[in-house]
Symmetry: C2
Subunit: 281 residues, 2 copies
């Protein structure tokens, strides 16, 4: 895609700072303005080469932006999108990087200040770590990014965002905000919940007995409690539904174990292995 003159990134945590690094590495933006709450994070982002300038003042930071990407925690996205619109150049396109979409897209709505327009994005990339100190320029490379237009989205905005994320090496998929949230409840929020319950249940006396299997399965529990509280609250109906289904399946497995039904057990293991092998490593 054509080089952008100025991209403003609101929130320079893991995702925001990685985005800045990727934009600069790929030569996709002349200037990257990082906007954050804390001078310390902004300093790290600047030192990492993630931004060309940094400010704690959102109004100043977005004033010349051609594209604004709000990479704030899910609970702050709507507020930051609105604030950005009030100070951005007339008609600026704004997107985000939040892990839940429907509530954000609906709450932002279609009436933004100064004719700005919002289309939701979600790069399905990240890690249990957070903060600009863990940012990497290749975080989006080969990863999936969901772009979530509504009936009111202009086709050219959607195409623009698809090119933007593709330019960073991502594979872009278009889906509605509601579809996105149903899917991510299963593919991302459910495994997070499972890891949390697994880690939270472990008695301290068993800590020394843990092997690589437990570590892998519970890794996501190391993620930020605040970030994930926001995500779960924002997508709570879908998360609750995914958890209810999961409970039923665990109960079915438990019944097969208690019945000492090796054939049923082996079938459950075999089906799961087929899926897991298909997903790759």
């Amino acid at each position: 895609m054509q080089k952008l003159r100025c991209v403003a990134i609101v929130g320079v945590g893991l995702i925001g700072a990685s985005l800045g690094m990727a934009l600069r590495r790929k030569g996709l933006a002349e200037r990257v303005v990082g906007i954050g709450r804390r001078h310390s994070s902004l300093r790290i982002a600047r030192q990492a080469g993630a931004v060309t300038s940094a400010t704690v003042n959102l109004a100043n930071g977005v004033a010349r932006a051609e594209l604004i990407v709000v990479c704030s925690p899910v609970g702050k996205i709507v507020e930051h999108v609105r604030l950005a619109a009030e100070h951005a150049p007339e008609g600026t396109l704004i997107t985000d990087a939040g892990s839940a979409k429907r509530s954000i897209v609906e709450t932002v709505g279609t009436k933004l200040a100064r004719g700005c327009r919002f289309v939701g994005s979600h790069p399905i990339a990240g890690s249990e770590k957070s903060g600009p100190e863990h940012a990497t320029a290749d975080l989006f490379e080969g990863r999936l990014v969901a772009v979530t237009p509504t009936r009111n989205t202009r086709e050219e905005d959607c195409t623009f965002l698809e090119r933007f994320w593709s330019g960073l090496g991502s594979v872009v998929v278009r889906m509605s905000p509601a579809e996105h949230d149903r899917a991510l409840a299963v593919t991302s929020h459910l495994p997070h919940a499972v890891a949390v319950v697994l880690a939270g249940t472990l008695p301290e006396k068993y800590f020394p007995l843990v092997g690589t299997g437990f570590l892998d399965t519970s890794r996501l529990a190391g993620g930020s409690p605040q970030l994930w509280t926001d995500i779960f609250s924002t997508n709570r109906r879908n998360v609750a539904r995914a958890l209810a289904q999961f409970e039923k399946r665990i109960a079915a497995l438990r019944a097969a174990v208690l019945d000492d039904n090796p054939r049923r057990l082996e079938r459950i293991f075999t089906e799961a292995k087929k899926n897991r092998d298909a997903l790759g490593s």
Copy 2:
């Protein structure tokens, strides 16, 4: 520990072949005899330098052993221990590497042929992969090995096994077979169950939306269905209890999500993160 003249390894899968490689790398055994069912596995084990000789005939393979380590699948261990005792030199010590201990230790009992003695071991090492082609000499390095004596175990046998596993770089912990099984149900069998249900539940249409989080959390589901059916059957009461507790915790998390209770949610996430951070990476 003193170099052993001859160690017989029954079963040259991932664990057995890795054990042979480690023994030879560390110079802890002059001869390592690999005993397997399939010529193909034995060939791979020999080519990998895991064994100095190989045979499909268990009776011949154990005939000169100073120590026998049964690394067969859990469902075959008792049979192989008994068979090994019948053909081993008088009074040979036999151990195993099975992931469930109580039923094996009780079924083997104290009356083995030719005055042989059995003490259970469980190296808490491995991976979702199986077969000698994935074996590595450092599989036991820094890993925990449980040695599970009973009231009838001779102290010198227990000490011998502790030295044996320590010699391979492992950290040895002594516990009763029952304690072991209660602990492993939570630290190993539960995460396996969780990974299996997670992978098994995923609809195919969501496969492309899976990120690294889902992959980590479900990784164990790639393990061998037969091996794990055996393990779950052998430790079924403890596994069922661990699953029941897990179900309750998932239900509690679901309630916090549905009640839209961010404070409760964040507390659950924070407790889990504290545990997970303490476990390391």
